[in-house]
């Protein structure tokens, strides 16, 4: 009995909490992806590069003496015009063609390629590690947890809740959902659909940038940092249902737990194939994912 409690307290619980902090970050990334898909039908392959961009922006601004708390506001604000421009100048060019799913996917893939190389050009290929903005740790129930991870969990959950409130409880969110459900009808009822499109894309990009700021102190900063992370975010979005906000949250927290807990029993290098295997299974059995789309939820 005592052994079981020890096992729960010292092995399982810390692993689950680590999984939770990663899960919150993955959900933030996945939220941007899924909202963009739900509204625009665009799979943003450059999302990982926007995430890396946020981390590098934070690094540069911190070098100029901007504090961590200001970064949390400043970086997303800086990312908004970038996302807005990408939507207006790139996505809209192929948005009305018949193959827009595939064309926008290819276009954002190309954009990601360029952005990654631009980051390499500007910052060099080496790994950088910003200092942890919140030092120290706290002991909870005999477990020692770094304060920054606790902050990440709390802040991330608050942010997810805020996105939820905006999308489902405000007039702005109603416009977004209406445009996702039927853009022509929304447009004839006075919703500025084009601005909603650009704004939503910019919002998703800003969320990716913000995740970059939050995760930089944990996972270091390098130009290809988005690559591994974006795979996980895509998996989450697919399992949860493309374009579903509930789905992204549930699948994000669930899959990161699977990853964290399974790495106790199997070699951690095999937890990635396991998670992808789950994704392939979900796509086979229920291609639409666990939950419905943005406009229909």
């Amino acid at each position: 009995m005592a052994e079981t409690i020890d096992y729960l307290q010292f092995i399982l619980a810390p692993q689950a909490l680590n999984g939770l902090s990663l899960g919150v970050a993955v959900v933030l990334m996945a939220l941007g992806l899924t909202i963009i898909f739900g509204l625009l039908d665009v799979i943003n392959m450059a999302h990982g590069e926007f995430y890396a961009m946020g981390a590098f922006l934070a690094l540069s601004l911190a070098g100029l003496g901007v504090g961590f708390w200001a970064l949390l506001v400043l970086v997303p604000l800086l990312m908004i015009p970038i996302g807005w421009a990408a939507e207006r100048w790139l996505i809209q060019r192929v948005f009305h063609s018949r193959d827009r799913h595939i064309l926008t996917l290819l276009l954002t893939f190309g954009l990601g390629m360029i952005l990654e190389d631009v980051l390499k050009l500007a910052y060099g290929p080496n790994t950088m590690r910003p200092e942890t903005p919140i030092a120290g740790g706290t002991e909870i129930l005999g477990m020692f947890l770094p304060n920054y991870r606790l902050f990440l969990i709390g802040f991330g959950l608050a942010l997810i809740a805020a996105v939820w409130v905006v999308v489902f409880r405000t007039r702005l969110g109603a416009m977004v959902r209406a445009a996702a459900f039927d853009k022509d009808m929304a447009s004839s009822l006075g919703v500025p659909v084009r601005r909603v499109y650009a704004g939503t894309f910019a919002f998703g990009v800003a969320l990716a940038g913000l995740s970059g700021v939050l995760l930089a102190p944990i996972y270091s900063v390098f130009p290809t940092m988005g690559r591994d992370f974006i795979l996980m975010a895509f998996t989450v979005v697919i399992v949860g249902g493309m374009g579903s906000i509930q789905g992204a949250v549930v699948a994000g927290l669930l899959l990161t737990q699977v990853q964290a807990i399974s790495s106790l029993y199997i070699s951690p290098v095999w937890s990635d194939p396991l998670v992808f295997g789950i994704m392939v299974l979900v796509l086979m059995v229920r291609p639409r994912g666990l939950f419905g789309r943005l406009g229909n939820a």
């Binding site: 799979i43 390629m113 290098v269 992808f276 086979m284 291609p287």
Partner: protein
């Protein structure tokens, strides 16, 4: 009946007019340029560029397999590297641990490609559109991570020390170690695969694929099995990719898990789009052009991704049918003009 479906929706320019149409002329032109290049490289004794060109042709095979799915059937595969890498690994293992036989290695790679293609095709063809792209992506990721973590397959180092082999073609024999003869061999093989696929795409099989691309729902009403055709083309594409992959270790003497990564699949898609989707010759030309471009830009700066990325995005936005697609109407106009001219000058 089938023609009626074709014209009801806007299809890519139907290439099947006459035994030798503009696309086939482009293929012959490409072959001629390649032979001139080989002659020049041989007289100047430049083995490096011959090897680079051979690699371009090998990746052209991968690009053709993407084009079969994307250009002819309308299925975007983001995981074609899975079959390319599988072919490369199987070929490498056969050459190193089995017999140093070209035919055994490619045969094994083709069999593995067909089998994996069958399994992958059954899984991927359950879904359509974007989901197809994502499931192929996911499948390739699972396998790539698995290979990357398997020590028996060399894990992150891959398999090295693959012996050079001697390929026997009836009375002829050539060494893969000799850059010129291996280049000519791969060139011949690539053009043979091109010819076979181009023929197949003009045959009823290919026309059915075009119908699936245009409107999949109507195909069963005309008495054709859409699912079976999609599975067949998926397996075919897997075999083409595996065959190309099988050549890679013969050229480079090693395989690495990078061959299986998304990078490889993504590059193949870029090649197809830049070269010309739905033309088969476009991907070959695109592969050669992009390899040359990377080599040239690479001599100035290591940041060739920016250049390639910009070209790729411009192709997506402005040249929907790629370089070959932009050239084709012009070539066809010229051919038509020449035909008119020929009639007028005839007595």
């Amino acid at each position: 009946m089938r023609e009626a479906v074709m014209t009801a929706v806007s299809l890519p320019r139907s290439p099947s007019r006459g035994p030798l149409n503009a696309t086939h002329w482009l293929a012959l032109l490409f072959l001629a340029v390649a032979l001139v290049f080989a002659a020049v490289a041989w007289t100047t004794g430049n083995g490096f560029y011959l090897r680079l060109a051979t690699e371009a042709l090998i990746f052209a095979g991968l690009a053709m397999s993407v084009d079969l799915l994307l250009g002819y059937t309308g299925l975007l595969s983001l995981g074609q590297a899975l079959y390319f890498g599988l072919g490369a690994y199987v070929s490498a293992l056969v050459l190193r641990d089995g017999a140093p036989s070209f035919w055994l290695a490619t045969g094994a790679a083709l069999a593995a490609g067909a089998l994996a293609g069958l399994v992958g095709g059954v899984i991927a063809n359950r879904v359509k559109g974007v989901y197809f792209a994502l499931i192929t992506f996911g499948l390739a990721q699972v396998v790539a991570k698995a290979v990357y973590n398997t020590r028996e397959l060399g894990a992150s180092d891959g398999i090295i020390g693959i012996p050079q082999i001697r390929v026997t073609l009836g009375p002829l024999a050539l060494d893969t170690a000799d850059p010129l003869s291996f280049f000519l061999f791969v060139l011949g093989l690539t053009m043979a695969v091109y010819a076979g696929l181009a023929y197949l795409m003009d045959a009823p099989f290919g026309r059915t694929l075009a119908a699936i691309r245009a409107n999949e729902k109507r195909v069963p009403f005309l008495g054709f099995n859409a699912w079976g055709h999609k599975l067949a083309v998926y397996v075919l594409a897997a075999c083409v990719a595996a065959l190309s992959g099988a050549l890679y270790p013969m050229l480079r003497g090693f395989v690495s898990p990078e061959l299986l990564f998304f990078h490889t699949s993504g590059n193949a898609v870029v090649t197809v789009i830049v070269g010309g989707v739905g033309t088969l010759i476009g991907p070959i030309a695109g592969s050669v052009l992009l390899t040359a471009l990377r080599s040239v830009v690479g001599s100035w700066t290591e940041h060739h991704l920016i250049v390639v990325g910009v070209i790729f995005m411009l192709s997506v936005i402005f040249l929907r049918k790629g370089l070959v697609g932009a050239l084709l109407p012009w070539l066809e106009r010229r051919a038509a003009a020449r035909a008119r001219h020929g009639r007028r000058s005839a007595p």
